[in-house]
Amino acid sequence: MVEQEGFRRYVAHIILWIGIAIVAFPVYVAFIASTQDNALIANGQMSLLPGGHFFEVYYQTIFVGTSGSTREPVGNMMLNSLIMAIMVAVGKIAISIISAYAIVYFRFPFRMPIFWIIFITLMLPVEVRIYPTYKIVADLHMLDSYAGLALPLIASATATLLFRQFFMTVPDELLEASRIDGAGPLRFFWDTLLPLSRTNMAALFVILFILGWNQYLWPLLITTRDDMQTIQIGIRKMMTTNDALTEWPIVMATAVLAMLPPVFVVVAMQKLFVRGLVETEK
Protein backbone atom coordinates (compact mmCIF):
# COMPACT_ATOMS: atom_id res chain seq x y z
CA MET A 1 0.00 0.00 0.00
CA VAL A 2 1.05 3.61 0.39
CA GLU A 3 3.88 3.30 2.90
CA GLN A 4 4.85 -0.30 2.07
CA GLU A 5 8.55 0.42 2.64
CA GLY A 6 11.30 -2.12 2.64
CA PHE A 7 11.52 -2.33 6.41
CA ARG A 8 8.03 -3.72 6.85
CA ARG A 9 8.68 -6.31 4.21
CA TYR A 10 11.78 -7.49 6.00
CA VAL A 11 9.78 -7.85 9.18
CA ALA A 12 7.17 -9.90 7.32
CA HIS A 13 9.83 -12.18 5.84
CA ILE A 14 11.42 -12.68 9.25
CA ILE A 15 8.11 -13.45 10.99
CA LEU A 16 7.18 -15.93 8.28
CA TRP A 17 10.51 -17.70 8.54
CA ILE A 18 10.14 -17.91 12.32
CA GLY A 19 6.68 -19.40 11.77
CA ILE A 20 8.05 -21.94 9.32
CA ALA A 21 10.82 -22.84 11.76
CA ILE A 22 8.32 -23.41 14.59
CA VAL A 23 6.16 -25.52 12.32
CA ALA A 24 9.05 -27.57 10.95
CA PHE A 25 11.23 -28.00 14.03
CA PRO A 26 9.44 -30.99 15.65
CA VAL A 27 9.52 -32.84 12.34
CA TYR A 28 13.18 -31.99 11.83
CA VAL A 29 14.01 -33.39 15.26
CA ALA A 30 12.08 -36.56 14.44
CA PHE A 31 13.96 -37.04 11.20
CA ILE A 32 17.33 -36.43 12.85
CA ALA A 33 16.49 -38.90 15.61
CA SER A 34 15.59 -41.52 13.03
CA THR A 35 19.14 -41.45 11.69
CA GLN A 36 20.94 -41.80 15.00
CA ASP A 37 22.04 -44.43 17.41
CA ASN A 38 19.51 -45.36 20.08
CA ALA A 39 22.04 -45.37 22.93
CA LEU A 40 22.96 -41.77 22.16
CA ILE A 41 19.33 -40.69 22.21
CA ALA A 42 18.54 -42.62 25.37
CA ASN A 43 21.39 -40.84 27.14
CA GLY A 44 19.88 -37.50 26.20
CA GLN A 45 22.86 -36.66 24.01
CA MET A 46 21.15 -36.56 20.69
CA SER A 47 22.82 -34.21 18.27
CA LEU A 48 20.84 -31.88 16.03
CA LEU A 49 22.70 -32.99 12.93
CA PRO A 50 21.90 -36.12 10.93
CA GLY A 51 23.59 -39.32 12.06
CA GLY A 52 24.86 -42.15 9.92
CA HIS A 53 22.19 -44.78 10.54
CA PHE A 54 19.60 -43.67 7.99
CA PHE A 55 19.55 -46.77 5.78
CA GLU A 56 19.88 -49.27 8.56
CA VAL A 57 17.07 -47.72 10.66
CA TYR A 58 14.64 -47.31 7.79
CA TYR A 59 15.36 -50.79 6.49
CA GLN A 60 14.63 -52.29 9.88
CA THR A 61 11.54 -50.14 10.37
CA ILE A 62 9.93 -50.94 7.06
CA PHE A 63 10.82 -54.61 6.70
CA VAL A 64 11.39 -55.94 10.21
CA GLY A 65 9.84 -53.70 12.86
CA THR A 66 11.01 -53.19 16.42
CA SER A 67 12.88 -55.96 18.16
CA GLY A 68 10.54 -55.69 21.17
CA SER A 69 7.11 -57.21 21.67
CA THR A 70 5.39 -55.81 18.57
CA ARG A 71 7.43 -57.30 15.80
CA GLU A 72 5.42 -56.00 12.93
CA PRO A 73 7.10 -54.46 9.91
CA VAL A 74 5.96 -50.88 9.43
CA GLY A 75 5.69 -51.52 5.69
CA ASN A 76 2.73 -53.78 6.43
CA MET A 77 1.13 -51.17 8.70
CA MET A 78 1.47 -48.61 5.93
CA LEU A 79 -0.28 -50.98 3.56
CA ASN A 80 -3.15 -51.33 6.05
CA SER A 81 -3.39 -47.56 6.43
CA LEU A 82 -3.34 -47.13 2.67
CA ILE A 83 -6.12 -49.67 2.10
CA MET A 84 -8.22 -48.11 4.85
CA ALA A 85 -7.69 -44.54 3.60
CA ILE A 86 -8.58 -45.46 0.02
CA MET A 87 -11.64 -47.43 1.13
CA VAL A 88 -12.87 -44.50 3.22
CA ALA A 89 -12.30 -41.98 0.44
CA VAL A 90 -13.62 -44.02 -2.48
CA GLY A 91 -16.48 -45.53 -0.47
CA LYS A 92 -17.69 -42.19 0.81
CA ILE A 93 -17.48 -40.51 -2.58
CA ALA A 94 -19.25 -43.40 -4.30
CA ILE A 95 -22.23 -43.70 -1.97
CA SER A 96 -22.54 -39.93 -1.57
CA ILE A 97 -22.53 -39.01 -5.22
CA ILE A 98 -25.33 -41.44 -6.09
CA SER A 99 -27.50 -40.46 -3.14
CA ALA A 100 -27.00 -36.77 -3.91
CA TYR A 101 -27.97 -37.53 -7.50
CA ALA A 102 -31.19 -39.19 -6.36
CA ILE A 103 -32.04 -36.32 -4.03
CA VAL A 104 -31.45 -33.59 -6.60
CA TYR A 105 -32.69 -35.19 -9.83
CA PHE A 106 -35.67 -37.24 -8.71
CA ARG A 107 -38.91 -36.51 -6.95
CA PHE A 108 -40.04 -39.42 -4.84
CA PRO A 109 -41.91 -40.08 -1.59
CA PHE A 110 -39.79 -39.55 1.56
CA ARG A 111 -37.20 -37.57 -0.38
CA MET A 112 -36.89 -34.86 2.28
CA PRO A 113 -36.96 -37.19 5.31
CA ILE A 114 -34.18 -39.22 3.71
CA PHE A 115 -32.21 -36.08 3.07
CA TRP A 116 -32.54 -35.07 6.72
CA ILE A 117 -31.61 -38.51 7.99
CA ILE A 118 -28.37 -38.22 6.05
CA PHE A 119 -27.86 -34.54 6.88
CA ILE A 120 -28.03 -35.02 10.66
CA THR A 121 -25.01 -37.36 10.62
CA LEU A 122 -22.94 -34.28 9.87
CA MET A 123 -23.15 -33.35 13.50
CA LEU A 124 -21.64 -36.25 15.39
CA PRO A 125 -18.11 -37.50 14.98
CA VAL A 126 -17.43 -41.18 15.53
CA GLU A 127 -15.81 -40.45 18.89
CA VAL A 128 -19.07 -39.85 20.73
CA ARG A 129 -20.70 -43.14 19.77
CA ILE A 130 -17.59 -45.21 19.94
CA TYR A 131 -18.60 -48.17 22.16
CA PRO A 132 -21.99 -48.93 20.63
CA THR A 133 -20.41 -48.74 17.18
CA TYR A 134 -17.73 -51.10 18.38
CA LYS A 135 -20.37 -53.52 19.59
CA ILE A 136 -22.20 -53.49 16.27
CA VAL A 137 -19.03 -54.06 14.32
CA ALA A 138 -18.20 -56.93 16.67
CA ASP A 139 -21.69 -58.42 16.26
CA LEU A 140 -21.28 -58.26 12.50
CA HIS A 141 -17.96 -60.13 12.85
CA MET A 142 -16.06 -57.27 11.30
CA LEU A 143 -13.37 -56.78 13.95
CA ASP A 144 -9.91 -56.97 12.43
CA SER A 145 -11.24 -56.49 8.92
CA TYR A 146 -10.87 -53.68 6.41
CA ALA A 147 -14.64 -53.35 6.15
CA GLY A 148 -14.87 -52.84 9.90
CA LEU A 149 -12.15 -50.21 9.73
CA ALA A 150 -13.71 -48.24 6.91
CA LEU A 151 -17.51 -48.56 7.01
CA PRO A 152 -18.29 -46.65 10.22
CA LEU A 153 -16.13 -43.77 8.98
CA ILE A 154 -18.09 -43.63 5.74
CA ALA A 155 -21.32 -42.91 7.62
CA SER A 156 -21.34 -39.14 7.35
CA ALA A 157 -22.95 -36.52 5.19
CA THR A 158 -20.21 -34.06 4.22
CA ALA A 159 -19.70 -35.47 0.74
CA THR A 160 -23.42 -35.82 0.07
CA LEU A 161 -23.98 -32.15 0.86
CA LEU A 162 -21.08 -31.10 -1.30
CA PHE A 163 -22.35 -33.01 -4.32
CA ARG A 164 -25.89 -31.81 -3.75
CA GLN A 165 -24.68 -28.23 -3.79
CA PHE A 166 -22.66 -28.84 -6.92
CA PHE A 167 -25.51 -30.57 -8.78
CA MET A 168 -27.77 -27.62 -8.02
CA THR A 169 -25.41 -25.39 -10.00
CA VAL A 170 -25.40 -27.67 -13.05
CA PRO A 171 -27.61 -26.00 -15.70
CA ASP A 172 -30.89 -27.76 -16.45
CA GLU A 173 -30.22 -27.42 -20.18
CA LEU A 174 -27.70 -30.24 -19.97
CA LEU A 175 -30.37 -32.61 -18.78
CA GLU A 176 -32.79 -31.43 -21.47
CA ALA A 177 -30.12 -31.92 -24.11
CA SER A 178 -29.23 -35.44 -23.08
CA ARG A 179 -32.91 -36.29 -22.85
CA ILE A 180 -33.38 -35.22 -26.45
CA ASP A 181 -30.51 -37.53 -27.28
CA GLY A 182 -32.56 -40.27 -25.70
CA ALA A 183 -30.45 -40.74 -22.59
CA GLY A 184 -32.01 -42.26 -19.47
CA PRO A 185 -31.16 -41.25 -15.90
CA LEU A 186 -28.20 -43.62 -15.59
CA ARG A 187 -26.75 -42.61 -18.94
CA PHE A 188 -27.05 -38.90 -18.03
CA PHE A 189 -25.33 -39.53 -14.71
CA TRP A 190 -22.53 -41.50 -16.25
CA ASP A 191 -21.90 -39.45 -19.41
CA THR A 192 -22.66 -35.92 -18.25
CA LEU A 193 -22.73 -35.48 -14.49
CA LEU A 194 -19.80 -37.66 -13.52
CA PRO A 195 -17.31 -35.98 -15.90
CA LEU A 196 -18.48 -32.57 -14.65
CA SER A 197 -17.90 -33.64 -11.04
CA ARG A 198 -14.32 -34.70 -11.60
CA THR A 199 -12.66 -31.76 -9.87
CA ASN A 200 -15.00 -31.97 -6.91
CA MET A 201 -14.37 -35.66 -6.58
CA ALA A 202 -10.62 -35.16 -6.69
CA ALA A 203 -10.69 -32.40 -4.07
CA LEU A 204 -12.86 -34.54 -1.84
CA PHE A 205 -10.62 -37.52 -2.36
CA VAL A 206 -7.58 -35.56 -1.15
CA ILE A 207 -9.32 -34.51 2.07
CA LEU A 208 -10.89 -37.91 2.76
CA PHE A 209 -7.64 -39.72 2.07
CA ILE A 210 -5.85 -37.63 4.68
CA LEU A 211 -8.72 -38.08 7.11
CA GLY A 212 -8.74 -41.83 6.59
CA TRP A 213 -4.98 -42.22 6.85
CA ASN A 214 -4.91 -40.23 10.08
CA GLN A 215 -7.67 -42.13 11.89
CA TYR A 216 -6.67 -43.22 15.35
CA LEU A 217 -9.32 -43.97 17.97
CA TRP A 218 -11.41 -46.20 15.75
CA PRO A 219 -8.61 -48.50 14.51
CA LEU A 220 -7.25 -48.54 18.06
CA LEU A 221 -10.48 -50.13 19.27
CA ILE A 222 -11.26 -52.58 16.52
CA THR A 223 -7.89 -53.99 15.56
CA THR A 224 -6.54 -56.64 17.88
CA ARG A 225 -4.35 -58.61 15.52
CA ASP A 226 -0.89 -57.16 14.95
CA ASP A 227 -1.06 -57.71 11.21
CA MET A 228 -4.19 -55.53 10.96
CA GLN A 229 -2.67 -52.52 12.72
CA THR A 230 -2.54 -49.20 10.96
CA ILE A 231 0.63 -47.16 11.22
CA GLN A 232 -0.87 -44.71 13.73
CA ILE A 233 -1.64 -47.58 16.10
CA GLY A 234 1.77 -49.09 15.51
CA ILE A 235 3.49 -45.97 16.79
CA ARG A 236 1.62 -46.03 20.05
CA LYS A 237 2.36 -49.70 20.61
CA MET A 238 6.06 -49.07 20.04
CA MET A 239 6.06 -46.49 22.80
CA THR A 240 4.18 -48.65 25.26
CA THR A 241 7.25 -50.49 26.38
CA ASN A 242 9.26 -49.08 29.21
CA ASP A 243 10.70 -45.69 28.29
CA ALA A 244 14.26 -46.85 28.67
CA LEU A 245 13.67 -49.67 26.21
CA THR A 246 11.84 -47.66 23.59
CA GLU A 247 13.72 -47.89 20.32
CA TRP A 248 13.51 -44.20 19.55
CA PRO A 249 15.15 -44.19 16.10
CA ILE A 250 12.56 -46.72 14.92
CA VAL A 251 9.68 -44.87 16.57
CA MET A 252 10.79 -41.65 14.90
CA ALA A 253 11.30 -43.34 11.54
CA THR A 254 7.75 -44.66 11.86
CA ALA A 255 6.51 -41.15 12.66
CA VAL A 256 8.26 -39.82 9.57
CA LEU A 257 6.81 -42.62 7.44
CA ALA A 258 3.35 -41.96 8.89
CA MET A 259 3.58 -38.30 7.86
CA LEU A 260 5.00 -38.85 4.42
CA PRO A 261 1.95 -39.89 2.35
CA PRO A 262 -0.55 -37.29 3.64
CA VAL A 263 2.01 -34.48 3.62
CA PHE A 264 2.98 -35.43 0.10
CA VAL A 265 -0.68 -35.30 -0.93
CA VAL A 266 -1.09 -31.83 0.59
CA VAL A 267 2.02 -30.41 -1.04
CA ALA A 268 1.66 -32.10 -4.43
CA MET A 269 -2.06 -31.43 -4.77
CA GLN A 270 -2.20 -28.14 -2.96
CA LYS A 271 -4.90 -26.57 -5.12
CA LEU A 272 -7.23 -29.54 -4.79
CA PHE A 273 -6.47 -29.78 -1.09
CA VAL A 274 -7.34 -26.16 -0.38
CA ARG A 275 -10.46 -26.43 -2.47
CA GLY A 276 -11.56 -29.62 -0.74
CA LEU A 277 -10.91 -28.19 2.70
CA VAL A 278 -12.83 -24.99 2.09
CA GLU A 279 -15.72 -26.77 0.39
CA THR A 280 -16.20 -29.48 3.00
CA GLU A 281 -16.25 -26.94 5.82
CA LYS A 282 -19.05 -24.89 4.35
Binding site: A42, Y131, P132, I235
Partner: protein, 293 residues
Protein backbone atom coordinates in the same frame (compact mmCIF):
# COMPACT_ATOMS: atom_id res chain seq x y z
CA UNK B 1 -33.80 -27.09 -3.25
CA UNK B 2 -34.78 -29.08 -6.29
CA UNK B 3 -34.35 -28.96 -10.01
CA UNK B 4 -37.11 -28.10 -12.43
CA UNK B 5 -35.88 -30.69 -14.86
CA UNK B 6 -36.12 -34.08 -13.22
CA UNK B 7 -36.38 -37.74 -14.00
CA UNK B 8 -39.40 -39.83 -13.25
CA UNK B 9 -38.71 -43.25 -11.94
CA UNK B 10 -40.27 -45.25 -9.15
CA UNK B 11 -37.51 -47.49 -7.92
CA UNK B 12 -34.26 -46.01 -9.15
CA UNK B 13 -34.00 -43.15 -6.62
CA UNK B 14 -34.46 -45.59 -3.74
CA UNK B 15 -31.80 -47.84 -5.16
CA UNK B 16 -29.46 -44.84 -5.39
CA UNK B 17 -29.92 -43.68 -1.79
CA UNK B 18 -30.05 -47.22 -0.38
CA UNK B 19 -26.29 -47.77 0.17
CA UNK B 20 -25.77 -44.53 2.05
CA UNK B 21 -28.99 -44.94 3.99
CA UNK B 22 -28.03 -48.46 5.03
CA UNK B 23 -24.58 -47.44 6.22
CA UNK B 24 -25.89 -44.40 8.07
CA UNK B 25 -28.61 -46.41 9.80
CA UNK B 26 -26.35 -49.30 10.80
CA UNK B 27 -23.24 -47.38 11.76
CA UNK B 28 -24.68 -44.07 12.90
CA UNK B 29 -28.26 -44.16 14.14
CA UNK B 30 -28.20 -47.61 15.65
CA UNK B 31 -25.08 -46.94 17.76
CA UNK B 32 -26.28 -43.47 18.74
CA UNK B 33 -29.57 -44.98 19.88
CA UNK B 34 -27.69 -47.71 21.75
CA UNK B 35 -25.64 -45.08 23.55
CA UNK B 36 -28.81 -43.32 24.68
CA UNK B 37 -30.39 -46.60 25.86
CA UNK B 38 -27.20 -47.76 27.55
CA UNK B 39 -27.01 -44.51 29.48
CA UNK B 40 -30.23 -45.48 31.29
CA UNK B 41 -29.00 -48.95 32.21
CA UNK B 42 -26.83 -50.24 34.99
CA UNK B 43 -24.78 -53.36 34.61
CA UNK B 44 -23.55 -55.23 37.69
CA UNK B 45 -19.85 -55.77 38.20
CA UNK B 46 -19.81 -59.15 36.49
CA UNK B 47 -21.96 -58.11 33.54
CA UNK B 48 -24.56 -60.72 34.49
CA UNK B 49 -27.61 -58.60 35.02
CA UNK B 50 -28.77 -55.30 33.62
CA UNK B 51 -31.35 -53.05 35.19
CA UNK B 52 -33.10 -49.92 34.06
CA UNK B 53 -32.11 -47.05 36.35
CA UNK B 54 -33.62 -43.95 34.73
CA UNK B 55 -31.25 -41.02 35.15
CA UNK B 56 -29.05 -42.59 37.84
CA UNK B 57 -26.00 -42.66 35.59
CA UNK B 58 -26.39 -38.97 34.87
CA UNK B 59 -27.09 -38.05 38.49
CA UNK B 60 -24.06 -39.97 39.60
CA UNK B 61 -21.96 -38.31 36.94
CA UNK B 62 -23.00 -34.81 37.96
CA UNK B 63 -22.47 -35.50 41.64
CA UNK B 64 -18.93 -36.60 40.88
CA UNK B 65 -16.48 -33.71 41.38
CA UNK B 66 -14.03 -35.46 39.04
CA UNK B 67 -16.48 -35.17 36.15
CA UNK B 68 -17.00 -31.49 36.76
CA UNK B 69 -13.24 -30.99 36.84
CA UNK B 70 -12.93 -32.77 33.50
CA UNK B 71 -15.58 -30.50 31.98
CA UNK B 72 -13.75 -27.40 33.19
CA UNK B 73 -10.40 -28.79 32.07
CA UNK B 74 -11.73 -29.56 28.60
CA UNK B 75 -13.01 -26.01 28.21
CA UNK B 76 -9.73 -24.52 29.45
CA UNK B 77 -7.83 -26.71 26.98
CA UNK B 78 -10.19 -25.72 24.18
CA UNK B 79 -9.84 -22.01 24.75
CA UNK B 80 -6.09 -22.17 25.31
CA UNK B 81 -5.62 -24.18 22.11
CA UNK B 82 -7.98 -21.97 20.10
CA UNK B 83 -6.52 -18.70 21.38
CA UNK B 84 -2.86 -19.59 20.88
CA UNK B 85 -3.33 -21.29 17.54
CA UNK B 86 -5.62 -18.58 16.16
CA UNK B 87 -3.36 -15.70 17.15
CA UNK B 88 -0.21 -17.25 15.68
CA UNK B 89 -2.07 -18.21 12.51
CA UNK B 90 -3.56 -14.74 12.15
CA UNK B 91 -0.16 -13.09 12.51
CA UNK B 92 1.33 -15.42 9.89
CA UNK B 93 -1.61 -14.99 7.54
CA UNK B 94 -1.44 -11.19 7.72
CA UNK B 95 2.27 -11.38 6.88
CA UNK B 96 1.77 -13.90 4.07
CA UNK B 97 -1.07 -11.82 2.64
CA UNK B 98 1.39 -9.05 1.76
CA UNK B 99 2.75 -9.01 -1.77
CA UNK B 100 6.06 -10.65 -0.89
CA UNK B 101 8.58 -12.36 -3.08
CA UNK B 102 8.21 -16.12 -2.59
CA UNK B 103 4.70 -15.85 -1.16
CA UNK B 104 3.56 -19.17 -2.63
CA UNK B 105 6.54 -20.94 -1.08
CA UNK B 106 5.72 -19.54 2.36
CA UNK B 107 2.18 -20.76 1.96
CA UNK B 108 3.24 -24.30 1.09
CA UNK B 109 5.73 -24.41 3.95
CA UNK B 110 3.05 -23.37 6.42
CA UNK B 111 0.09 -25.55 5.45
CA UNK B 112 1.53 -29.06 5.43
CA UNK B 113 1.20 -29.81 9.20
CA UNK B 114 -2.52 -30.14 8.55
CA UNK B 115 -1.68 -33.59 7.24
CA UNK B 116 0.16 -34.77 10.36
CA UNK B 117 -1.96 -37.20 12.36
CA UNK B 118 -2.73 -36.35 16.01
CA UNK B 119 -0.93 -39.40 17.45
CA UNK B 120 2.17 -38.46 15.44
CA UNK B 121 1.93 -34.90 16.75
CA UNK B 122 1.90 -36.37 20.25
CA UNK B 123 4.97 -38.50 19.56
CA UNK B 124 6.91 -35.59 18.04
CA UNK B 125 6.26 -33.26 20.95
CA UNK B 126 6.75 -35.77 23.72
CA UNK B 127 10.07 -36.71 22.18
CA UNK B 128 11.21 -33.11 21.87
CA UNK B 129 10.27 -32.32 25.46
CA UNK B 130 10.86 -35.66 27.12
CA UNK B 131 12.34 -35.00 30.59
CA UNK B 132 15.45 -37.15 30.19
CA UNK B 133 16.13 -37.27 26.47
CA UNK B 134 14.28 -34.36 24.85
CA UNK B 135 16.41 -31.94 22.86
CA UNK B 136 14.54 -28.93 24.24
CA UNK B 137 14.42 -30.17 27.82
CA UNK B 138 18.17 -29.60 28.10
CA UNK B 139 17.72 -25.91 27.49
CA UNK B 140 14.78 -25.70 29.86
CA UNK B 141 16.85 -27.35 32.55
CA UNK B 142 19.79 -25.09 31.76
CA UNK B 143 17.42 -22.16 32.23
CA UNK B 144 16.66 -23.43 35.72
CA UNK B 145 13.20 -24.86 35.06
CA UNK B 146 12.46 -28.19 36.65
CA UNK B 147 10.93 -29.72 33.58
CA UNK B 148 9.19 -33.03 33.99
CA UNK B 149 5.81 -33.33 32.25
CA UNK B 150 5.67 -37.01 33.19
CA UNK B 151 5.26 -36.02 36.84
CA UNK B 152 4.05 -32.43 36.82
CA UNK B 153 0.39 -32.11 35.81
CA UNK B 154 0.54 -28.44 34.80
CA UNK B 155 3.55 -29.05 32.61
CA UNK B 156 1.82 -32.02 31.00
CA UNK B 157 -1.23 -29.86 30.28
CA UNK B 158 0.99 -27.16 28.76
CA UNK B 159 2.65 -29.74 26.57
CA UNK B 160 -0.67 -31.08 25.28
CA UNK B 161 -1.94 -27.55 24.59
CA UNK B 162 1.24 -26.58 22.73
CA UNK B 163 1.20 -29.72 20.59
CA UNK B 164 -2.50 -29.42 19.78
CA UNK B 165 -2.18 -25.71 18.92
CA UNK B 166 0.86 -26.43 16.75
CA UNK B 167 -1.09 -28.84 14.58
CA UNK B 168 -4.01 -26.47 14.16
CA UNK B 169 -1.93 -23.46 13.01
CA UNK B 170 -1.92 -24.56 9.37
CA UNK B 171 -5.67 -25.02 9.21
CA UNK B 172 -6.37 -21.61 10.75
CA UNK B 173 -3.71 -20.02 8.57
CA UNK B 174 -5.42 -21.26 5.41
CA UNK B 175 -8.82 -19.96 6.39
CA UNK B 176 -7.40 -16.62 7.52
CA UNK B 177 -5.64 -16.26 4.18
CA UNK B 178 -8.93 -16.90 2.38
CA UNK B 179 -10.65 -14.40 4.66
CA UNK B 180 -7.98 -11.75 4.08
CA UNK B 181 -8.11 -12.25 0.33
CA UNK B 182 -11.84 -11.52 0.43
CA UNK B 183 -11.38 -8.09 2.02
CA UNK B 184 -11.71 -5.44 -0.69
CA UNK B 185 -8.43 -3.60 -1.16
CA UNK B 186 -10.29 -0.36 -1.79
CA UNK B 187 -11.45 -0.23 1.84
CA UNK B 188 -7.88 -0.51 3.07
CA UNK B 189 -6.70 2.09 0.58
CA UNK B 190 -9.40 4.46 1.72
CA UNK B 191 -8.24 4.03 5.32
CA UNK B 192 -4.65 4.60 4.22
CA UNK B 193 -5.56 7.82 2.43
CA UNK B 194 -7.32 8.94 5.60
CA UNK B 195 -3.93 8.62 7.23
CA UNK B 196 -4.41 5.39 9.21
CA UNK B 197 -1.07 3.69 9.87
CA UNK B 198 -0.80 -0.06 9.16
CA UNK B 199 -1.39 -1.15 12.78
CA UNK B 200 -4.42 1.06 13.08
CA UNK B 201 -5.69 -0.12 9.69
CA UNK B 202 -5.42 -3.71 10.89
CA UNK B 203 -7.42 -3.19 14.07
CA UNK B 204 -10.06 -0.85 12.68
CA UNK B 205 -10.59 -2.32 9.20
CA UNK B 206 -9.09 -5.76 8.66
CA UNK B 207 -9.88 -7.31 12.03
CA UNK B 208 -13.59 -6.37 12.09
CA UNK B 209 -14.01 -7.55 8.51
CA UNK B 210 -12.41 -10.85 9.47
CA UNK B 211 -14.82 -11.46 12.33
CA UNK B 212 -16.97 -14.03 10.48
CA UNK B 213 -13.82 -16.05 9.75
CA UNK B 214 -12.63 -15.70 13.34
CA UNK B 215 -15.95 -16.83 14.72
CA UNK B 216 -16.15 -19.78 12.36
CA UNK B 217 -12.62 -20.82 13.24
CA UNK B 218 -13.28 -20.44 16.95
CA UNK B 219 -16.08 -23.02 16.77
CA UNK B 220 -14.04 -25.35 14.56
CA UNK B 221 -11.07 -25.09 16.94
CA UNK B 222 -13.18 -25.88 19.97
CA UNK B 223 -14.64 -28.94 18.26
CA UNK B 224 -11.10 -29.90 17.26
CA UNK B 225 -9.88 -29.53 20.84
CA UNK B 226 -12.77 -31.67 22.06
CA UNK B 227 -12.32 -34.59 19.70
CA UNK B 228 -9.15 -34.58 17.66
CA UNK B 229 -6.87 -34.16 20.66
CA UNK B 230 -7.59 -37.75 21.64
CA UNK B 231 -4.68 -39.09 19.60
CA UNK B 232 -2.33 -36.42 20.93
CA UNK B 233 -3.23 -37.10 24.54
CA UNK B 234 -3.14 -40.85 24.13
CA UNK B 235 0.40 -40.94 22.78
CA UNK B 236 1.67 -38.16 25.05
CA UNK B 237 0.27 -38.57 28.52
CA UNK B 238 -2.67 -41.03 28.50
CA UNK B 239 -4.60 -38.47 30.47
CA UNK B 240 -1.98 -38.32 33.23
CA UNK B 241 -0.17 -37.63 35.40
CA UNK B 242 -3.13 -38.13 37.69
CA UNK B 243 -6.03 -36.77 35.68
CA UNK B 244 -4.29 -33.58 34.63
CA UNK B 245 -4.70 -34.08 30.87
CA UNK B 246 -7.93 -36.08 30.80
CA UNK B 247 -10.49 -34.45 28.51
CA UNK B 248 -14.14 -35.44 28.13
CA UNK B 249 -13.53 -37.71 25.16
CA UNK B 250 -10.57 -39.31 26.86
CA UNK B 251 -12.70 -39.97 29.94
CA UNK B 252 -15.38 -41.69 27.84
CA UNK B 253 -12.68 -43.96 26.47
CA UNK B 254 -11.04 -44.52 29.84
CA UNK B 255 -14.21 -45.22 31.82
CA UNK B 256 -15.70 -47.46 29.15
CA UNK B 257 -12.71 -49.48 28.09
CA UNK B 258 -10.45 -49.57 31.07
CA UNK B 259 -12.95 -48.95 33.86
CA UNK B 260 -15.61 -51.14 32.25
CA UNK B 261 -18.29 -48.71 33.41
CA UNK B 262 -20.43 -48.75 30.27
CA UNK B 263 -23.47 -46.99 31.75
CA UNK B 264 -21.47 -43.98 32.87
CA UNK B 265 -19.44 -43.97 29.67
CA UNK B 266 -22.66 -43.97 27.63
CA UNK B 267 -24.12 -41.13 29.69
CA UNK B 268 -20.95 -39.14 29.04
CA UNK B 269 -21.26 -39.89 25.32
CA UNK B 270 -24.80 -38.59 25.29
CA UNK B 271 -23.73 -35.37 27.05
CA UNK B 272 -20.95 -34.96 24.49
CA UNK B 273 -23.44 -35.48 21.66
CA UNK B 274 -25.60 -32.69 23.07
CA UNK B 275 -22.58 -30.39 23.36
CA UNK B 276 -21.57 -31.01 19.74
CA UNK B 277 -25.10 -30.49 18.51
CA UNK B 278 -25.22 -27.16 20.35
CA UNK B 279 -21.85 -26.09 18.94
CA UNK B 280 -22.84 -27.07 15.41
CA UNK B 281 -26.15 -25.33 15.84
CA UNK B 282 -24.39 -22.13 16.90
CA UNK B 283 -22.09 -22.41 13.94
CA UNK B 284 -24.89 -22.92 11.41
CA UNK B 285 -26.88 -20.07 12.87
CA UNK B 286 -24.06 -17.59 12.72
CA UNK B 287 -22.51 -18.77 9.50
CA UNK B 288 -25.90 -18.35 7.86
CA UNK B 289 -26.38 -14.88 9.24
CA UNK B 290 -22.69 -13.94 9.18
CA UNK B 291 -21.19 -11.93 11.97
CA UNK B 292 -20.76 -8.86 9.82
CA UNK B 293 -20.83 -5.20 10.48
Amino acid sequence: MQKQAIFKSKLLPYALVAPQLAIVLIFFYWPALQAVIQSFLLQDAFGLSVSFVWFDNYVELFSEPAYFETVVRTFIFSFAIAASSLSVALLLAVMADKPLRGGAVYRTLLIWPYAVAPPVVGVLWVFMLHPSLGVLSRYLRAAGIEWNPLLDGDQAATLVILAAAWKQISYNFLFFLAGLAAIPKSVLEAAAIDGARPMRRFWTVTFPLLSPTIFFLLVVNIVYAFFDTFGIIDTMTRGGPGKSTETLVYKVYNDGLIGGNLGSSAAQSVILMIMVIVLTGIQFRFVERKVTY
